[in-house]
């Protein structure tokens, strides 16, 4: 083949597009490591788990079981609470921080660097650090909150059913807000100065300027940031797994940790695959929304 092309150099380019040849290796790898496993997991989700650890094709049993499993509903609920609250706090913290950094405050660069710090640590390190701060006996948070008389006695934040999910959400908010802050900051800096000048000439107050100049200009970025963050938080594994591993009980169990637990602790690959397919479908829905939003922006 090679010699044939070498002899007739012009011929080969006309019939096989060079750029297509360049793309083939990468696309084949993606088909192998992404598309093939996806079909595999869909197939596995229709298989029953046997005691021997085998899987036998048996239709919708896994899905039927999941629907009637109250624990699965709790997991779904936890996932949505975790995602929604994380994204909400990222948004509020990120937007406030971005607005703050967009003023003519001193040492702005330094401040921005400091605000980026939470995001620079790997998720697992963030998880371990917060787990240590939440420690029921020696955790520094208990001391601080106790000193400020917010809590009367020490709380074992991560092993208490009522507080565990909130505690994980706080850690997730800390680690994730700088990303949205950076996106919002980039958006704020691209707002045309003339619009603010025009608004202040018309006598708009700071709040009105924010409402009628800043927000409308920022809207496309906010939409993209929220959509992306929702996807990220929905599939966020590291933090929950390291901080609580879904516990206590299933108080902080989210879809991702559920799939991990069912596969690698119970070795029920069929059931795990069914959960994975459900999760994939929900994420697909979010992804479609994201592209709707993203495409709208570019048009």
């Amino acid at each position: 083949m090679v010699t044939l092309y070498r002899n007739k150099k012009d011929f080969s380019w006309k019939h096989i597009d060079f750029s297509f040849i360049l793309v083939i290796p990468a696309i084949s790898i993606l088909l192998l490591v992404l598309v093939l496993p996806l079909f595999n997991v869909i197939y596995l989700s229709f298989c029953r788990d046997t005691a021997q650890g085998d899987t036998i094709f048996s239709g919708l049993v896994n899905y039927a079981m999941l629907i009637h499993d109250p624990a699965f509903l709790v997991v779904l609920k936890n996932t949505f609470i975790f995602t929604f609250c994380s994204v909400l706090f990222h948004f509020l913290l990120g937007l406030s921080a971005a607005l703050l950094l967009n003023t003519d405050i001193r040492a702005r660069k330094l401040l921005r660097a400091v605000a980026l710090i939470p995001w620079m640590f790997p998720s697992v390190v963030v998880a371990i650090t917060w787990a240590w701060m939440y420690h029921g006996q020696f955790g520094v948070l208990n001391f601080i909150l106790n000193r400020l008389q917010i809590i009367p006695s020490f709380v074992p934040w991560l092993s208490e059913k009522r507080t565990a999910l909130a505690a994980v959400i706080v850690a997730s908010s800390w680690r994730g807000f700088p990303i949205l802050m950076m996106m919002f900051l980039a958006g704020l800096q691209s707002v045309p100065k003339e619009q603010y000048e025009a608004a202040s000439v018309d006598g708009a107050t700071g709040l009105q300027q924010f409402r009628f100049v800043t927000l409308p200009n920022l809207k496309p970025i906010i939409a993209i940031a929220l959509a992306l963050d929702t996807i990220w938080m929905f599939r966020y594994f590291d933090l929950v797994q390291v901080m609580t591993a879904g516990g206590p009980g299933i108080a902080t169990e989210v879809l991702v940790t559920r799939i991990y637990k069912v596969s690698f602790h119970y070795f029920k690959f069929g059931e795990a695959s069914a959960v994975a397919v459900i999760m994939f479908l929900i994420l697909l829905f979010f992804t479609l929304i994201y592209y709707r939003v993203a495409l709208k922006k570019t048009r």
Binding site: W13, D17, S19, F20, L22, V23, A26, I27, I29, L30, V33, P37, L38, V41, L44, S96, L100, I105, L111, V114, L116, I117, P118, M120, F121, P122, V124, V125, A127, I128, T129, A131, W132, Q137, F138, V140, F143, I179, M182, M183, A186, G206, I224, L228, D229, I231, W232, F234, R235, F237, D238, V242, A245, I259, F264, F269, A276, M279, F280, L283
Partner: protein, 282 residues
Amino acid sequence: MGTLGFTKRKVYFALSIYAAAAILVLFCLLPVAWMLSTSFKTYSETFATPPHWIPRALTFEPYMNMWRIQPFVRYFMNSVIVATATTLLAVLFAALAGYGFSRCTFKGANMLLVFTLVTQMFPSIVLIVPYFIVMSRFGLINSYPSLIIAYMSFSLPFCIWMLKGFFDTIPRELDEAAMIDGCSRLKAFLWVIVPLSLPGIFATILFSFLVAWTEFLFALCLTMTPDMATVTVGITSLVGQYRVYWNELMAASIVASIPTICLCIFLEKYLIRGLTLGAVKG
């Protein structure tokens, strides 16, 4: 009166802004300060009540001991090997594909491009069960290749998109000029386009390394023994134990974070682009 009220309001505004900045700094730095503080304490001082923010008996011992108590040298080596191999492979294939997409003329290129973008949204957890089954069958579990293959699933798509973006900024006329001068297309790419987009390629390499270094899920599921564990798996294996050496754990956390912090500082310029292309996951 009017001007007085105005300046007063200005002062209040400035004050509230600095107060907000102080809260922001406190919120961001408190956990980091606590991490640093713990890492310089002796084991007994980590359990002092009330806790000391500044260690009374400042010691570097946690940074020495961490290497002895756990095979951290091995963990770091594993992470470096896997992250480097993933990055090299991903960037190699992505550079070819990125250039192809950037100069594409074939039908269906757009569709393939959207396909690679959509894979960004793909949750890794969905792949875990098939990977585990197939890789056990081939005896690849608990090996470098298993992790490298798995990491390609998220590394390759964003490398393609990032590199395509950088190649797009180089005018097509340059390729054409090189080809008129007698270069083949491949040579034009290697000798003209690649040198011109080196900063972009470098940024992509760093991004890829960063994401592979911090990866946790695949590393947790596909490695079985401590001698194959990456840094992230190695550190977290200490958390659930009966007796947790928090000072050494914090020291190890800081050491493991140093590469990511350095990379993040280098990459700040490319951050937004990396974010929206999915190079950095939340």
